[in-house]
Each structure stands twice: as C-alpha cells, then as structure tokens.
C-alpha cells in the first residue's frame, strides 16, 4: 500500500496514463474543431471562397454586399393559419424591416452587372417573435448542395476556363441556372422582381399537421422587361435611386404566395423547382413604405438568417438553411468587427 502524499516509483505508469488522457482530450478537441481535417467545409472556407481577389468587403456583408434598407408592414389575410400557427399569419398588420440587395460580394458593384437580386425580410409578431428570410429572384437555386455552392465559387474564381467546365460536368443542375441567367428578362426595378425562398421549410398548423412549403413574394407592380444594354447605360446605382423615388411616391406591394409540396417533391434540393400545378395559398401582402440608405439604416445590423423562424415554421431536410445560418453568422461577426471600415455617418475630412 502506498504512503499517502508520497510519489512512488511505480507511479511513472500513472503519470504516463495521465499524460495520455490529457493529450487524448486535446486531440479530440482539435479534431472536433476541424484543425486536423483541413478538407472539412467550414464557414471560414466558404467565406474565403466568397472573397474576391481584391480582398474582402470590409465592414460589409460577405455576399449580397450591396443593398438598401426598407421598412413597412406585412398585412396577413388569415389564409396562412390553415398551414402554420405562426402568429404573423393571423389576420392583422405586422411591422417589417428588410433590405433590397444584389448577389455580389462587391458593395460598389455597378447595378447592371449583377444578375441575382435579393430581398432580406424580417416580420415581427406583436409579442416580438421574429421571422427572418433572405430570398432571391431566380426561380430555382444554382446548385443542389452547399458543397456544390462552394465548388461553384472556387471554380468561378479560377482564371482557367476549364475549371467551370469541370464544375458543370460534375454538377449538371447548374446548366438550368446558367440558362436562366442568360435568357431571363431584366427589369429596371427592385419593385418588379419576385423574391423566392427556394429552400423548403415545414409549416405546422394548430392541429399539428405538417406541410413542406416554399414561398415567394410576387410583385403587384407589372414587371417591364428592359434590354440589358439599356440598363448598362443607367448609373451604377440606378436600382437604389429608382426604388427610393418609387417608394416615396407610393408604397410598393408584394403578395406572399406559399406553395405546398406534394409527397415526393424534392424538398431537399432548391435547384429543382416543384411542378407548376402545386397548391398555392396567398397568405398576405408585403407593403414597403420607406427606403433608407444602408449605412445608417435599420437593416445594416440585422443578419437575415433564414433559420430565425417563428413557432409553426421549421427547417426541412433542405441542407441550405443550416449552411447559410453558419456562414451568415460568421459574415456578421466579421462585418461587425470591421464596422470602423464602414463608418455609420459620412465624415468629411477637413
């Protein structure tokens, strides 16, 4: 038996054991952190792939970096209650905060050069419960998985033209998106675009019935198609100027249309549209009443994380919302830390 408090020779074995336990724990931690598996797709790698060669847009969103804030109301007509117990579907008016934006990592991009237009939106229930979403104007997404999106960013960033060819042959779903980008009509206004969730979510109603859904904000303004060459002649910020004057003269409206999936519809893949004949339920109207520049506007400080959902809405088997939540969080962390590179009020140096 050992004398208490004395270190015996035989304890060498124990010391080795202790070292092994501590070392093993540290190794498990490093593995969990991804430090031992550089191939893992992390939010940092996704952000690196989004970063243009000229460097990150300091103080700005790492994607959809150019945008302008809006505020207004969501007027629920009550039809949504059948599908989801989300409070904002109960007939009534709910305050909204949002952001029109362009799918680019360059906050100074020339408007006519950006194909994808988006909307960030937050609807608040009377008790403060929030629903955030970020939607874009193409009718389906470019790729099937977050990994493929990373692959697309990497391939598109390469000078070598073979890279894109290799990417497309490995991700044939991209062809439909490329065709959309080439042939879809352009409009001259954020107010004439439809913004689509693309990802599927699950609505749960008061009885507990579940439905996989996607939704779109369909403009009430008539889309006027404009030749791209015509848009290129407009100023670099024509979209922001146009929406500002347009909303000043009259509030702009979108109908929120929910599409309900049928069994077997591809809920996990936003690159695959559902058949046209799916049931559609109009759940309310978004009214945009006021536009404010992003720099000092209320949308600047919001991360339109599509997984901030009210009770009655949850994510589906679509892998994008989780991936986006993780990457948007990191993007927010970075841009908040860089806020001094994007000062809130324009300071003119003497």
């Amino acid at each position: 038996m050992n004398q208490p408090g004395r270190v015996e020779r035989s304890s060498l074995g124990w010391l080795v054991l202790i070292a092994a336990v501590v070392g093993g724990s540290a190794a498990a931690f490093a593995y969990t952190a991804g430090w031992l598996t550089p191939g893992r797709l992390t939010p940092d790698r996704m952000i690196a792939a989004l970063t243009p060669p000229s460097g990150p847009p300091l103080g700005h969103r790492r994607n959809h970096a150019k945008g302008i804030c809006f505020t207004g109301m969501f007027e629920a007509n009550g039809n949504g209650v059948e599908l989801s117990r989300a409070k904002v579907f109960v007939q009534g008016r709910y305050p909204v905060l949002g952001r029109f934006n362009l799918g680019t990592a360059d906050p100074n991009a020339v408007d006519a050069t950006v194909r994808v237009r988006g909307m960030g939106l937050q609807i608040s229930a009377a008790d403060g419960e929030e629903w955030r979403m970020a939607m874009i104007n193409p009718p389906f997404f470019a790729v099937s998985t977050p990994e493929a999106f990373h692959g697309l960013l990497v391939a598109a960033g390469k000078k070598d033209r073979e890279a894109m060819k290799t990417f497309i042959s490995a991700n044939p779903e991209f062809a439909a998106f490329a065709a959309w980008a080439k042939t879809a009509p352009w409009t001259g206004s954020y107010a004439e675009e439809a913004y689509n969730s693309l990802s599927s979510f699950v609505f749960t109603n008061a009885k507990g019935d579940e439905h996989a859904v996607r939704w779109s904000l369909v403009p009430t303004a008539e889309p006027v198609s404009i030749a791209h060459a015509e848009l290129e002649k407009r100023g670099p910020d024509f979209l922001e100027q146009e929406i500002t004057t347009r909303v000043k003269s009259a509030p702009q409206r979108w109908t929120m249309v929910t599409t309900v999936a049928e069994p077997g519809d591809p809920t996990a893949d936003p690159s695959r549209a559902w058949p046209q004949n799916r049931r559609k339920v109009q759940v309310g109207t978004l009214v945009v009443q006021r536009i404010e520049p992003e720099r000092d506007g209320p949308c600047r400080d919001i991360n339109f994380d599509p997984t901030v959902l009210p009770q009655g809405v949850r994510v589906s088997d679509d892998p994008f919302p989780a991936a986006r939540s993780s990457v948007y969080r990191k993007s927010y962390d970075l841009r908040a830390a860089e806020a001094s590179d994007y000062p809130r009020t324009e300071v003119t140096k003497p």
């Binding site: 939010p43 991360n303 908040a336």
Partner: protein, 187 residues
C-alpha cells in the same frame, strides 16, 4: 469552524459531475458547431444555447450550496504553492462557469439575434445591438472558451494526479462513488 466536512455534500458532488459533463459537452459543441456548415449545425447551436443557459442557473445553485456547506480541507501535507494553485484554479473555474454563459447571451443580444432556446423559450434582450459590444463579447467568449478548455485539462490532470499518484484522498472528497476506507482524506 467546528464541523469541518470530510467530503463535499452529496448534492455538491452530484452537481460537480453533472456540470463537468455538461461543460465538457459545451466546449466540444461550441468548437464543433463553429467549424461546420452541415445540417447538424442547427441542433448543435440550439443545444449550446439551451444547455449554456441551464448551466448558468446551475452554477448559481452550486455557489449557494458551496457557501452553505463549505469544502473539505486539502491534505495537510500538500505544499502551500499547490494549495494556492488548487484554490486559485477552483476560483477561476467558478468564474468561467458564470462568465461564459453571460458572454454567450450578451454576444447574441448585441448582434440583434433573438435568443430562442429549446421548445421555443425566448430570452428577452438586455443589451441593444452594438458592433463594438458584439465584437468584444464574441472575442472574449472565443478566447475564454479555449482558456477554459485548457484549465479543465489542467484540473483533470491534477485530479488524476491526486487519485492515482498521490492517493491523498482529495479525489474521494468529490468522488461520485460512496466513500471507501483507503481513500479517506488524511487528517
């Protein structure tokens, strides 16, 4: 003090081990969730927030119990520097257990995220959005998280050293098992 305890009270021992498991889980979940874009990110961050807030409540209970029951003395033959190290490291561990959840909550508030826990429990924001506060709290949550892991490893090594090498009864004071004769602390 007239009645110095020989061991931590059963409720203290229970809380120590329950919280030890949960905090180690928190560290692994934290470091794992920030390095993935997989679907498990969402359940992981939900557990991280919910368990983190639960641990904040538990540490307050634990501190109250500590003030009420006290702690058994360290072995008389333990060198003074080691005693000081033990005391300081325990104090630090308590500090981390209080501060880490507060930093986590503050970080979310300062980023204008709604804090929604398991089963939809919502925690109202006590801080307004602030880039500066968010960045500070985020940095501190990250670095203290790593420091806490290092301290837990040290604490683990020290505990095993007491239990396996010194065999001085310190481990028995907090052991989850019923007391055994030969592990009794030395007077």
């Amino acid at each position: 003090m007239t009645n110095v305890p020989q061991r931590f009270a059963p409720i203290q021992r229970l809380l120590h081990w329950l919280m030890a498991i949960c905090i180690i889980a928190m560290l692994f979940i934290g470091i794992g969730m920030v390095s993935t874009v997989a679907q498990k990110y969402l359940p992981l961050i939900l557990i991280h927030k919910t368990l983190g807030v639960a641990l904040l409540v538990l540490v307050l209970v634990r501190l109250a119990l500590r003030l009420h029951f006290g702690a058994p003395p360290l072995p008389a033959d333990l060198p003074a520097t080691m005693k000081l190290g033990a005391r300081l490291s325990h104090l630090l561990l308590y500090g981390f257990m209080i501060v880490m959840p507060l930093l986590g909550l503050g970080m979310l508030w300062a980023a204008a995220y709604p804090v929604v826990l398991y089963s939809g429990i919502r925690i109202p924001a006590l801080l307004p959005q602030s880039d500066h506060a968010h960045t500070l709290l985020w940095d501190v949550h990250v670095y203290l998280g790593l420091a806490l892991f290092a301290l837990v490893l040290l604490h683990l090594a020290a505990a095993l050293f007491h239990a396996l090498v010194r065999r001085d009864g310190v481990f028995a004071t907090i052991s989850p098992l019923p007391e055994r004769q030969r592990m009794k602390p030395t007077e």
